[in-house]
Amino acid sequence: MEDASERMRAVRVVKLTLVVGVAVLIGVVAYTLTRSPPRVLRAGLTPQTVLSPLEGAGEACQGDELLPAHTSAIRLSIVAYIGARMRLTVYSGSQILTEGSRGPDWTGTSVTVPVKPLARTVSNVKLCVDVGPNSEAIYLFGRETPPAQALSVPTGGRLSGRLDVAYLGSGKGLWWSRVLTVARHMGLGRAFSGTWIALLIAALVGAVGVLAAGLTLRELS
């Protein structure tokens, strides 16, 4: 008798916990949908060449950049399998306009560093990238340019070109307003196309959740 009531209590607790869990998940998804996807405020040069394989820590600066208003992150075409600490500083003359940093937890062909947004666009700024200690080579990607426009290093030398830099900020629409566009997009790129693919995915996710929760409850009771 005591065992049965204990089991009933456990079932109630599990149900409640699962309901709370699903409610939190719905809340998180709903909150995310009320945010704006990132948007490229200013694209950089299409990267075409490796400017420099960087072994160990180092710094390089690039002048003549335009910092768009409301830039919340700066994306650099830097390739690494195991990233390194990055520190970005944007100068207007000798004055620091904004700065940001990123730990070594990145990998791939670009690194995005969050920065504090400014309310106005500033032209002719200097962007300095400080790459922290690293044991693997880190490759800067960009386009070859005349030396005067190229990345400069503290020793006074120049690399062979300019680094590809993209300035990111919040998009204008919310994720919520893009749901249909995203669903249509998901229906492309396959042999069978159509928005129904997004619906099928949603149904499958629902089925997975119901089965997992159902199994958890069934095994308890």
Partner: protein, 512 residues
């Protein structure tokens, strides 16, 4: 299912009854009938989850998927393995056309580039897909070239079913991988119940959490031999657990040996795990020898012999054709030379753990255990180009630490029981260490010796998922009668939420 029902249906109970009564299930179907319904549901969860991921991830955006596809294409279209030995192999013209139609070159490794997004691009893709160009490449398959052929031979079946349409071929091949994901969850369920039979509900929670694991679903939703390595290893764990509980019977020895052989034929990474399995067979042999005498030694020997057979045949074939005896693995011996061994061990240590004083710096500025293994375990999808923001990785430390604390608490509380099962746990640890050493040594060879990338991808650790299921189970059990239901349900909700959020991250990356 209550405890009485479990006692009747449990694999352990069956084995015990079978031994006592001298009966055995008469057929494979009988064995399958005794698998608890919950295990099938768990497998179904993993299957549907992997199918979902296979539909979310655009074609050829699974890790190295174009190379693995090229391997299958090589087997079917040329009737040979991809081993021309050319340094710069090319895909078939038809595969290249489809990759071009998908804009794969611009999307892969570039999180800022989404997949194709207009009807015009879709029409161009379908046109490329229907071009009917040559299906013969240069005879290479990129990074997949050196891998053993079994997974690819199996994937030739869906390829043949949809032959002539690359996009359909790829989707069907992904569904086969999804079935492997389901088998992984099934074996994990049975393994966890085998090692922790007194906690059936907690074990179910542990297995469900594994079935919902997004990295497993991502890998099982793409064409990659890792997807087959996971169920093979999970089945090996299950067989070992059964052997330690009920003894290594002839049937179990043959099955374990066959699984070893399949593992060797699936992916080179299995070599690391196999070391631990052979340690387990040695431990079982010693135990059986002490208990029952020499006659029982034949079953561990049989398992080991069956398992090593493909390696022996492969070595013989290489000798006859005057290739390196162990193919790509032949060069590995030099890593263990006396001069190199200390450096190798130092590298492997730092690959996973904080550097000790006096060690050469191999990962300067990087806390490998956090920046590589933990953060990338939280989320690393696509061609390593889809990750969460760093703050998500930091938040994830909280539930991870909670599970670790609960797991540790339960281990301490049950230390007496642990002591009694040290040989079994030692075997699992040997498998873990073998795998870690193999990944670390491969990374050392690539990174430290040849200045190529290190091999820091959490997917390499997924063969250890059954043990993660055990960790979840013990964490749930640590709550006692009062808190276990809350912890278990919270874990299921958490991992399901994690899965959904990971899917949304991938959706945003490719379609946002």
């Amino acid at each position: 299912m209550n405890r009485l029902t479990f006692a009747v249906h449990s694999p352990i109970a069956r084995a015990r009854t079978g031994r006592a009564g001298g009966t055995r299930p008469s057929s494979r179907m009988a064995v399958l009938r005794h698998v608890p319904t919950a295990a099938w549901v768990c497998a179904l969860v993993a299957l549907l989850n992997a199918v979902t991921w296979s539909l979310i991830v655009p074609p050829f955006e699974g890790k190295d998927e174009s190379d693995h596809f090229a391997y299958v294409e090589q087997i079917v279209e040329n009737g040979s393995l991809p081993e021309n030995g050319q340094p710069n192999g090319t895909y078939s013209l038809q595969e290249d056309l489809v990759l071009e139609g998908l804009h794969a070159g611009e999307v892969i490794h570039s999180p800022q580039s989404t997949s194709i997004s207009s009807e015009a691009e879709q029409r161009a893709l379908i046109k490329a897909n229907d071009a009917g160009a040559s299906r013969r490449g240069s005879g290479e398959a990129g990074i997949a070239t050196g891998e053993p052929p079994l997974y690819y031979a199996i994937e030739a079946i869906p390829y043949l079913l949809a032959r002539g349409n690359i996009l359909v071929e790829l989707q069907l091949m992904r569904l086969v991988s999804a079935i492997f994901g389901a088998i992984t969850a099934l074996c994990t369920f049975l393994f966890v119940r085998e090692i922790l039979p007194r906690s059936p509900w907690a074990a179910t929670v542990g297995a469900v959490c594994v079935a919902l694991e997004p990295l497993l679903a991502f890998m099982s939703g793409s064409v990659n031999p890792d997807s087959m390595l996971y169920p093979v290893t999970a089945a090996v764990f299950l067989c070992l657990a059964r052997a330690f509980r009920c003894g290594l019977t002839r049937r179990l020895a043959v099955l374990l040996g066959a699984l070893l052989a399949v593992g060797f034929l699936t992916k080179l990474n299995f070599l690391g795990l196999a070391v631990g399995v052979y340690v387990g067979l040695a431990v079982l042999a010693v135990r059986e020898l002490r208990a029952k005498g020499r006659a029982t030694l034949r079953w561990p020997l049989l398992a080991g012999a069956i398992g090593i057979l493909p390696v022996v045949l492969y070595a013989l074939r290489n000798l006859l054709e005057r290739h390196h005896t162990l193919g790509d693995a032949s060069g590995a011996g030099s890593l263990f030379a006396p001069g190199e061994l200390v450096k190798l061990l130092s590298y492997v240590w730092q690959f996973y753990l904080p550097r000790l004083p006096g060690m050469t710096h191999y990962f300067e500025g990087v806390a490998t255990y956090k920046d590589i293994w933990f953060d990338r375990s939280v989320g690393l999808y696509g061609w390593m180009d889809t990750m969460f923001s760093p703050w998500v990785d930091n938040v994830a430390l909280i539930p991870a630490a909670a599970v670790a604390l609960l797991f540790g608490r339960e281990l301490i509380a049950r230390r007496q029981a642990l002591r009694a099962r040290l040989p079994e746990l030692g075997t699992y640890m040997a498998m873990v260490l073998g795998l870690l050493l193999l990944i670390g040594a491969s990374s050392y060879d690539s990174d430290a010796l040849h200045h190529q990338p290190a091999f820091g991808e959490p997917r390499y650790l997924l063969p250890l998922l059954p043990l993660l299921g055990g960790v979840f189970t013990l964490a749930v059990r640590a709550g006692g009668r009062r808190w276990s239901p809350v912890i278990g349900a919270a874990l299921v909700a958490l991992v399901f939420g994690y899965d959904v959020v990971s899917q949304l991250q991938v959706v945003a990356r490719f379609y946002g």
